[in-house]
Protein backbone atom coordinates (compact mmCIF):
# COMPACT_ATOMS: atom_id res chain seq x y z
CA UNK A 1 0.00 0.00 0.00
CA UNK A 2 2.60 2.51 1.02
CA UNK A 3 4.77 2.08 -1.97
CA UNK A 4 6.22 5.05 -3.73
CA UNK A 5 8.74 5.03 -6.51
CA UNK A 6 11.53 7.53 -6.91
CA UNK A 7 9.92 8.67 -10.15
CA UNK A 8 6.56 9.44 -8.60
CA UNK A 9 8.22 11.13 -5.61
CA UNK A 10 10.21 13.39 -7.94
CA UNK A 11 7.08 14.12 -9.92
CA UNK A 12 5.10 15.11 -6.84
CA UNK A 13 7.93 17.21 -5.38
CA UNK A 14 8.50 18.98 -8.70
CA UNK A 15 4.86 19.92 -9.11
CA UNK A 16 4.62 20.94 -5.45
CA UNK A 17 7.57 23.27 -5.75
CA UNK A 18 6.25 24.75 -9.00
CA UNK A 19 2.76 25.27 -7.61
CA UNK A 20 4.03 26.92 -4.44
CA UNK A 21 6.29 29.19 -6.48
CA UNK A 22 3.31 30.27 -8.58
CA UNK A 23 1.28 31.10 -5.49
CA UNK A 24 4.04 33.08 -3.79
CA UNK A 25 5.41 34.83 -6.88
CA UNK A 26 1.93 35.97 -7.87
CA UNK A 27 1.66 37.77 -4.55
CA UNK A 28 5.22 39.10 -4.49
CA UNK A 29 5.18 40.31 -8.08
CA UNK A 30 1.63 41.66 -8.03
CA UNK A 31 1.06 44.80 -10.06
CA UNK A 32 4.38 44.58 -11.95
CA UNK A 33 3.77 41.62 -14.24
CA UNK A 34 0.07 42.04 -14.70
CA UNK A 35 0.40 45.53 -16.13
CA UNK A 36 0.99 43.97 -19.55
CA UNK A 37 -2.37 43.54 -21.27
CA UNK A 38 -1.30 40.54 -23.40
CA UNK A 39 0.05 38.65 -20.40
CA UNK A 40 -3.16 39.36 -18.55
CA UNK A 41 -5.37 37.98 -21.33
CA UNK A 42 -3.09 34.97 -21.79
CA UNK A 43 -3.18 34.09 -18.10
CA UNK A 44 -6.91 34.68 -17.96
CA UNK A 45 -7.69 32.25 -20.78
CA UNK A 46 -5.19 29.53 -20.03
CA UNK A 47 -7.13 27.68 -17.31
CA UNK A 48 -10.34 27.30 -19.33
CA UNK A 49 -8.63 26.40 -22.62
CA UNK A 50 -6.45 23.86 -20.83
CA UNK A 51 -9.45 22.16 -19.29
CA UNK A 52 -11.27 22.09 -22.62
CA UNK A 53 -8.28 20.74 -24.53
CA UNK A 54 -8.00 18.03 -21.90
CA UNK A 55 -11.58 16.79 -22.15
CA UNK A 56 -12.91 17.41 -25.66
CA UNK A 57 -11.19 14.40 -27.29
CA UNK A 58 -12.52 12.12 -24.49
CA UNK A 59 -16.04 13.49 -24.97
CA UNK A 60 -15.99 12.77 -28.69
CA UNK A 61 -14.74 9.23 -28.06
CA UNK A 62 -17.87 8.62 -25.99
CA UNK A 63 -19.94 9.37 -29.11
CA UNK A 64 -23.58 10.42 -28.87
CA UNK A 65 -23.64 9.71 -25.12
CA UNK A 66 -20.79 12.13 -24.59
CA UNK A 67 -22.54 14.84 -26.57
CA UNK A 68 -25.81 14.37 -24.65
CA UNK A 69 -23.88 14.47 -21.36
CA UNK A 70 -22.07 17.73 -22.12
CA UNK A 71 -25.22 19.34 -23.49
CA UNK A 72 -26.96 18.63 -20.19
CA UNK A 73 -23.91 19.95 -18.32
CA UNK A 74 -24.11 23.20 -20.30
CA UNK A 75 -27.78 23.56 -19.31
CA UNK A 76 -26.99 22.66 -15.69
CA UNK A 77 -24.15 25.18 -15.44
CA UNK A 78 -26.29 27.87 -17.05
CA UNK A 79 -29.14 27.28 -14.60
CA UNK A 80 -27.38 26.33 -11.35
CA UNK A 81 -23.61 26.98 -11.73
CA UNK A 82 -23.14 23.81 -9.69
CA UNK A 83 -20.07 21.83 -10.71
CA UNK A 84 -21.01 19.03 -8.36
CA UNK A 85 -24.46 18.62 -9.95
CA UNK A 86 -22.82 18.73 -13.40
CA UNK A 87 -20.55 15.90 -12.39
CA UNK A 88 -23.49 13.83 -11.17
CA UNK A 89 -25.37 14.44 -14.43
CA UNK A 90 -22.36 13.57 -16.60
CA UNK A 91 -21.60 10.39 -14.70
CA UNK A 92 -25.30 9.48 -14.63
CA UNK A 93 -25.79 9.82 -18.38
CA UNK A 94 -22.73 7.70 -19.14
CA UNK A 95 -23.66 5.06 -16.56
CA UNK A 96 -27.21 4.79 -17.91
CA UNK A 97 -26.05 4.45 -21.48
CA UNK A 98 -23.43 1.82 -20.64
CA UNK A 99 -25.86 -0.31 -18.65
CA UNK A 100 -29.16 0.03 -20.46
CA UNK A 101 -28.59 1.07 -24.05
Amino acid sequence: MDNITLTSLLLILGISLGTYSLRVSGLLLSNKFIENENVKVFLEYLPSTLLLALVVPSILKEGLTGLVAILLIVVCMYKTKSILLSMIIGVGVVALSRNFI
Binding site: L9, N38, L43, P47, T49, L52, A53, G90, A95, L96
Partner: protein, 227 residues
Protein backbone atom coordinates in the same frame (compact mmCIF):
# COMPACT_ATOMS: atom_id res chain seq x y z
CA UNK B 1 -5.92 37.10 14.94
CA UNK B 2 -6.99 33.87 16.65
CA UNK B 3 -10.59 34.69 15.80
CA UNK B 4 -9.75 35.30 12.17
CA UNK B 5 -8.21 31.85 11.93
CA UNK B 6 -11.25 30.21 13.52
CA UNK B 7 -13.72 32.24 11.44
CA UNK B 8 -11.84 31.35 8.29
CA UNK B 9 -11.95 27.67 9.20
CA UNK B 10 -15.70 27.76 9.89
CA UNK B 11 -16.59 29.89 6.84
CA UNK B 12 -15.08 27.25 4.58
CA UNK B 13 -17.05 24.31 5.94
CA UNK B 14 -20.13 24.70 3.67
CA UNK B 15 -17.97 24.76 0.53
CA UNK B 16 -15.98 21.97 2.15
CA UNK B 17 -18.92 19.64 1.59
CA UNK B 18 -18.45 19.82 -2.17
CA UNK B 19 -14.69 19.63 -1.69
CA UNK B 20 -15.31 16.38 0.18
CA UNK B 21 -17.46 15.07 -2.68
CA UNK B 22 -14.88 15.84 -5.40
CA UNK B 23 -12.21 14.44 -3.16
CA UNK B 24 -14.00 11.14 -2.83
CA UNK B 25 -14.21 10.87 -6.64
CA UNK B 26 -10.47 11.57 -6.90
CA UNK B 27 -9.79 8.93 -4.25
CA UNK B 28 -11.72 6.30 -6.22
CA UNK B 29 -9.91 7.23 -9.41
CA UNK B 30 -6.58 6.84 -7.60
CA UNK B 31 -7.44 3.18 -7.02
CA UNK B 32 -8.23 2.73 -10.70
CA UNK B 33 -4.93 4.30 -11.72
CA UNK B 34 -2.84 2.46 -9.11
CA UNK B 35 -1.84 5.57 -7.19
CA UNK B 36 -0.76 4.53 -3.69
CA UNK B 37 -2.23 6.02 -0.52
CA UNK B 38 1.10 7.61 0.37
CA UNK B 39 1.31 9.24 -3.05
CA UNK B 40 -2.23 10.54 -2.64
CA UNK B 41 -1.51 12.01 0.80
CA UNK B 42 1.71 13.64 -0.41
CA UNK B 43 -0.19 15.24 -3.28
CA UNK B 44 -2.95 16.44 -0.94
CA UNK B 45 -0.57 18.17 1.42
CA UNK B 46 2.29 19.28 -0.86
CA UNK B 47 0.50 20.16 -4.10
CA UNK B 48 -2.88 20.99 -2.54
CA UNK B 49 -4.64 21.85 -5.80
CA UNK B 50 -7.73 19.87 -6.78
CA UNK B 51 -7.90 20.29 -10.53
CA UNK B 52 -4.15 19.73 -10.94
CA UNK B 53 -4.41 16.55 -8.87
CA UNK B 54 -7.21 15.32 -11.13
CA UNK B 55 -5.01 16.02 -14.15
CA UNK B 56 -2.04 14.23 -12.60
CA UNK B 57 -4.07 11.14 -11.71
CA UNK B 58 -5.68 11.16 -15.16
CA UNK B 59 -2.23 11.12 -16.80
CA UNK B 60 -0.85 8.58 -14.29
CA UNK B 61 0.37 5.28 -15.69
CA UNK B 62 2.94 2.61 -14.94
CA UNK B 63 5.51 4.54 -16.95
CA UNK B 64 5.20 8.11 -15.72
CA UNK B 65 5.81 10.79 -18.31
CA UNK B 66 7.28 13.24 -15.77
CA UNK B 67 7.85 16.12 -18.17
CA UNK B 68 4.38 16.16 -19.76
CA UNK B 69 2.61 15.69 -16.45
CA UNK B 70 4.61 18.43 -14.73
CA UNK B 71 4.11 20.92 -17.56
CA UNK B 72 0.39 20.19 -17.81
CA UNK B 73 -0.21 20.32 -14.06
CA UNK B 74 1.71 23.58 -13.69
CA UNK B 75 -0.18 25.10 -16.58
CA UNK B 76 -3.44 24.15 -14.91
CA UNK B 77 -2.07 25.83 -11.78
CA UNK B 78 -0.96 28.98 -13.58
CA UNK B 79 -4.11 30.65 -12.32
CA UNK B 80 -2.58 30.58 -8.83
CA UNK B 81 -0.23 33.26 -10.03
CA UNK B 82 -3.24 35.49 -10.65
CA UNK B 83 -4.89 34.35 -7.43
CA UNK B 84 -1.72 35.27 -5.55
CA UNK B 85 -1.64 38.66 -7.24
CA UNK B 86 -5.27 39.30 -6.34
CA UNK B 87 -4.50 38.77 -2.66
CA UNK B 88 -2.19 41.79 -2.62
CA UNK B 89 -4.62 43.98 -0.59
CA UNK B 90 -4.99 41.30 2.11
CA UNK B 91 -1.24 41.18 2.74
CA UNK B 92 -0.65 44.92 2.98
CA UNK B 93 1.40 45.32 6.17
CA UNK B 94 2.41 41.65 6.35
CA UNK B 95 6.01 40.57 6.59
CA UNK B 96 7.65 38.57 3.84
CA UNK B 97 7.76 35.56 6.16
CA UNK B 98 4.00 35.72 6.67
CA UNK B 99 3.51 35.79 2.91
CA UNK B 100 5.67 32.69 2.48
CA UNK B 101 3.87 30.96 5.33
CA UNK B 102 0.27 31.65 4.37
CA UNK B 103 0.42 31.30 0.60
CA UNK B 104 0.86 27.53 0.46
CA UNK B 105 -2.66 26.67 1.61
CA UNK B 106 -4.43 28.80 -0.97
CA UNK B 107 -7.02 26.92 -3.02
CA UNK B 108 -9.81 28.22 -5.23
CA UNK B 109 -12.32 27.73 -2.45
CA UNK B 110 -10.74 29.55 0.51
CA UNK B 111 -9.50 32.22 -1.88
CA UNK B 112 -13.07 32.86 -3.10
CA UNK B 113 -14.47 32.89 0.44
CA UNK B 114 -11.72 35.30 1.57
CA UNK B 115 -12.14 37.70 -1.37
CA UNK B 116 -15.85 37.73 -0.68
CA UNK B 117 -15.34 38.46 3.02
CA UNK B 118 -12.79 41.21 2.30
CA UNK B 119 -15.45 43.21 0.48
CA UNK B 120 -17.47 43.59 3.67
CA UNK B 121 -15.03 43.78 6.56
CA UNK B 122 -11.33 44.07 7.28
CA UNK B 123 -9.69 40.69 7.89
CA UNK B 124 -6.15 39.46 8.39
CA UNK B 125 -4.32 36.78 6.36
CA UNK B 126 -5.15 34.38 9.23
CA UNK B 127 -8.67 34.16 7.83
CA UNK B 128 -7.28 32.89 4.53
CA UNK B 129 -5.00 30.47 6.36
CA UNK B 130 -7.82 29.16 8.58
CA UNK B 131 -9.81 28.53 5.42
CA UNK B 132 -6.83 26.72 3.89
CA UNK B 133 -6.54 24.42 6.88
CA UNK B 134 -10.29 23.79 6.69
CA UNK B 135 -10.12 22.86 2.98
CA UNK B 136 -7.04 20.71 3.55
CA UNK B 137 -9.05 18.86 6.17
CA UNK B 138 -12.17 18.23 4.03
CA UNK B 139 -10.06 17.51 0.94
CA UNK B 140 -8.01 14.88 2.80
CA UNK B 141 -11.12 13.38 4.38
CA UNK B 142 -12.84 13.16 0.99
CA UNK B 143 -9.92 11.72 -0.98
CA UNK B 144 -9.07 9.15 1.68
CA UNK B 145 -12.72 8.07 2.05
CA UNK B 146 -12.95 7.65 -1.72
CA UNK B 147 -9.69 5.74 -1.70
CA UNK B 148 -10.95 3.33 0.98
CA UNK B 149 -14.27 2.87 -0.82
CA UNK B 150 -12.74 2.58 -4.29
CA UNK B 151 -11.41 -0.88 -3.60
CA UNK B 152 -14.95 -2.22 -3.27
CA UNK B 153 -16.03 -1.05 -6.71
CA UNK B 154 -14.71 -3.62 -9.13
CA UNK B 155 -15.64 -1.97 -12.41
CA UNK B 156 -15.81 1.82 -12.02
CA UNK B 157 -16.37 2.30 -15.77
CA UNK B 158 -19.72 0.59 -15.46
CA UNK B 159 -20.84 3.39 -13.16
CA UNK B 160 -19.46 6.03 -15.49
CA UNK B 161 -16.88 7.07 -12.90
CA UNK B 162 -14.22 7.58 -15.53
CA UNK B 163 -16.46 10.31 -16.94
CA UNK B 164 -16.34 12.20 -13.62
CA UNK B 165 -13.07 13.86 -14.67
CA UNK B 166 -14.50 14.94 -17.96
CA UNK B 167 -17.68 16.31 -16.41
CA UNK B 168 -15.85 18.24 -13.68
CA UNK B 169 -13.29 19.77 -16.03
CA UNK B 170 -15.88 20.65 -18.61
CA UNK B 171 -18.12 22.28 -15.98
CA UNK B 172 -15.11 24.11 -14.49
CA UNK B 173 -14.23 25.49 -17.91
CA UNK B 174 -17.83 26.64 -18.41
CA UNK B 175 -17.78 28.34 -15.01
CA UNK B 176 -15.01 30.58 -16.39
CA UNK B 177 -17.30 31.89 -19.14
CA UNK B 178 -17.21 35.68 -19.19
CA UNK B 179 -19.06 36.48 -22.41
CA UNK B 180 -19.16 36.03 -26.19
CA UNK B 181 -15.43 36.72 -26.47
CA UNK B 182 -14.82 33.27 -24.99
CA UNK B 183 -16.55 31.37 -27.79
CA UNK B 184 -14.01 31.62 -30.62
CA UNK B 185 -10.94 30.81 -28.47
CA UNK B 186 -12.78 27.85 -26.96
CA UNK B 187 -13.85 26.47 -30.35
CA UNK B 188 -10.28 26.79 -31.68
CA UNK B 189 -8.98 25.03 -28.55
CA UNK B 190 -11.39 22.13 -29.03
CA UNK B 191 -10.67 21.75 -32.74
CA UNK B 192 -6.89 21.90 -32.38
CA UNK B 193 -6.96 19.47 -29.44
CA UNK B 194 -9.04 16.93 -31.39
CA UNK B 195 -6.90 17.21 -34.52
CA UNK B 196 -3.56 17.01 -32.66
CA UNK B 197 -4.81 14.11 -30.56
CA UNK B 198 -5.62 12.11 -33.68
CA UNK B 199 -2.26 12.93 -35.30
CA UNK B 200 0.29 12.82 -32.48
CA UNK B 201 0.58 10.08 -29.89
CA UNK B 202 0.77 11.09 -26.23
CA UNK B 203 -0.69 13.99 -24.31
CA UNK B 204 0.80 16.94 -26.17
CA UNK B 205 -2.64 17.82 -27.56
CA UNK B 206 -3.58 19.35 -24.20
CA UNK B 207 -0.90 22.02 -24.17
CA UNK B 208 -0.96 22.61 -27.95
CA UNK B 209 -4.76 22.98 -28.02
CA UNK B 210 -4.76 25.30 -25.00
CA UNK B 211 -2.01 27.56 -26.35
CA UNK B 212 -3.65 27.77 -29.78
CA UNK B 213 -6.97 28.85 -28.28
CA UNK B 214 -5.34 31.26 -25.84
CA UNK B 215 -3.34 32.96 -28.60
CA UNK B 216 -6.58 33.46 -30.53
CA UNK B 217 -7.97 35.16 -27.41
CA UNK B 218 -4.92 37.45 -27.17
CA UNK B 219 -5.18 38.50 -30.85
CA UNK B 220 -8.92 38.90 -30.60
CA UNK B 221 -8.60 41.20 -27.60
CA UNK B 222 -5.84 43.21 -29.32
CA UNK B 223 -7.96 43.70 -32.40
CA UNK B 224 -10.88 44.80 -30.30
CA UNK B 225 -8.90 47.41 -28.35
CA UNK B 226 -7.33 48.76 -31.57
CA UNK B 227 -10.49 48.86 -33.63
Amino acid sequence: MKNDFRNGFISNIPIGISVFAYGSVLGMLCIQKDVSLLELILMNTLIFAGSAQFVIVEMWSSSLDILSITITALMVNLRYFLIGASLNPLFVGSTRLEKFKFMHLVADENWAVTINKMKNEPISPSFLFGGGVSILFTWSLGTISGYSLGGFISDPAKFGLDFAFVSIFFALALSMYKGKQNILPWIVTALVAVIVESLIEGKSYIVIGAIAGTLVAVFQEKKESNG
